[in-house]
Homo-oligomer: 354 residues x 2
């Protein structure tokens, strides 16, 4: 979905509505492009849009609501007059520039890992913990993509029957490593199909028709990689379940933009698949796709470009005779619910609370 | 690896050694081709090789040990004078023709699911349960590929500290659905890269840069699919652990020929990753690939064309404070240890026992 294609069919924001000036930091990245798309598509009341990126991209233009917007080089002074700054340019950029944005009176929604676990920083998935926004913090953190997608499937269950343990195995797409990784997946696959050699440049391992343990560094003490540890601690923070027992295995698969995960979910009390289906069907932002007769379950190609997290394969875990464990499979667009959509939803909730 | 490439470098069987006439049923399939390769590469004492397939393929030739072998149409009379018949043409062909092979005095090694769970039929992974071959049954079943690869990683652990529960999520390659599925993965991926439409013919869902729940039919009672149920019951039979609590989620990923799996393994007593690494390092047919510093773990591209099952990501499960659970990741070539290699290893063990 390009922003150019969608904008001409969309109305401009209602006349007379209060608008907010918005900056996107990392406008040229995979998430930056989707942030523009979400603002447009969801008719966020954008007054002025400021596109910020590295000096390398400055001067190029992107199109928003049918009009060209020039990309500016990010500087400490970029945030004057900005109401919301949506950061998606990595943790070090956030650490350096978010304080400047805050000093300029701007509310930061940060898609990086820089502040997610900081005391007092709300880490929010609006369908799950909107109450965390009540504090009117100057900075709200947008979760890791695995955490954001997982809690969409877990919270509606937890609300009815508390969870005690979750085991997750992920099938993560290239988009989580950015636009360059998506391009590398396509280029290396084309090379392999043509019988040509390809030297990986973005990811550490060959990606064509291959998979590998997530490329985040492995913590020598625990053996878990950074992606797994992030997902686990963030799920606990978002769900306010500090004692939830978690183990994730994060794997990069040759898929372009939606993340999948097999979840084994243990509850405090016995539970049935029918109950879980009912709870998930009623949850905003979730779509149950669980058609056993036609072998039709959540798939990345059907989750891509879509706001909802798809959940299916809901069944009683045959390995737990106590009847307290379910297995399920969830898929969500990493660039949307796993990043840009959730950030714009946070901004929407902040606007609604004003 | 084509059989043509390897055979010229290989010696013919030692002169004077006792030889056995071997038939391959399903010689033109993905596994059939690998069966020829394994017989050649492992210098199995083949006397006459008979290649059997459907009438459609009859008359074509394949090359074995540098000589052309004509493919014959499979008939009830095909097994006269044959010592070992290696079946890999699906369960219905095995059900129809294995009795003819047995009647002709031939020992059947069957790669299909037809007889695996039948009472009295040994289901064998030679590194795991060679004792099951002692019975000299006329038919030995070769396990489902997930089961064969999983038990290679599980049995060396179980032998030292009994397993009580295993949760598995698989990342299965195209080869498990045959040569046509491998071709469909390549063709549909090429089409997507070229921006062209592709209608799936072999698998039920789009496969290019996509994944989906395993295409085996779903059991309406349990919600598990046929692949998951097979893997679970076969693991219990091979390991002689009828009470082992199991749950598998089987997923088809866009990888060509090696199957991966994330395994959460619960033991009777507390266990450490160092112990597991030691036990697995000593296990025949297993290779520990667990280099956290370089983020180098088992991957399909390194398991493909290789006999060993690769095991890594061995770590204490942070979700089990009792210290009785490990997480690990195993990858094995579906066509080799998951099919052809294991079948030839069974035949080798039968020859050695004669």
């Amino acid at each position: 979905m390009s922003s150019v294609e969608t904008l001409q069919a969309r109305p401009a924001p209602s006349a007379g509505r209060r608008t907010f000036n918005v900056a996107i930091v990392g406008a040229t990245g995979a998430v930056g492009v989707e942030l523009m798309g979400c603002l447009e598509r969801r008719d966020f009341p954008v007054g002025e849009l400021k596109l910020l990126a590295s000096a390398r991209s400055a001067g190029k233009t992107l199109t928003f609501r049918g009009r060209p917007v020039a990309i500016e080089a990010l500087t400490p002074e970029s945030f004057q007059g900005v109401d919301f700054a949506l950061f998606s340019a990595g943790a070090s950029i956030s650490r350096e520039f978010a304080p400047h944005a805050e000093a300029a009176g701007c509310v930061v929604v940060d898609n990086s890992s820089a502040f997610r676990m900081a005391e007092g920083v709300p880490l929010v998935v609006p369908e799950v913990n909107p109450q965390a926004l009540a504090r009117q913090a100057p900075l709200v953190a947008n979760p890791n993509c695995v955490a954001a997608i997982a809690v969409m499937a877990l919270q509606p269950l937890h609300a009815h029957n508390p969870l005690t343990r979750v085991i997750g195995a992920t099938y993560q797409s290239a988009s989580g490593a950015g636009a360059a990784a998506m391009a590398e997946l396509e280029a290396s696959t084309a090379a392999q199909l043509a019988g040509e050699a390809y030297e990986p440049k973005v990811l550490p391992h060959p990606y064509a028709f291959n998979l590998f343990s997530h490329n985040a560094a492995v913590d020598p003490a625990s053996g878990y990689n950074g992606e797994e540890l992030k997902a686990m601690e963030e799920i606990r923070k978002i769900m306010s379940t500090p004692d939830l027992r978690l183990s994730f295995t994060c794997v990069r698969v040759p898929v372009l933009r939606a993340h999948s995960m097999a979840l084994t979910v243990e509850f405090e009390r016995p539970v049935t698949p029918a109950e879980a289906r009912e709870w998930l069907s009623a949850a905003p932002g979730v779509r149950v796709v669980d058609d056993a007769a036609n072998n039709h379950f959540p798939m990345p190609n059907e989750a891509s470009g879509r706001d909802e997290v798809l959940v299916g394969r809901i069944r009683q875990d045959l390995g737990d005779p106590s009847g307290r464990t379910l297995s399920l499979f969830a898929v969500g667009d990493q660039l949307l619910k796993g990043a840009a959509l959730n950030a714009v939803q946070i901004a929407e909730a902040l606007v609604a609370a004003r």
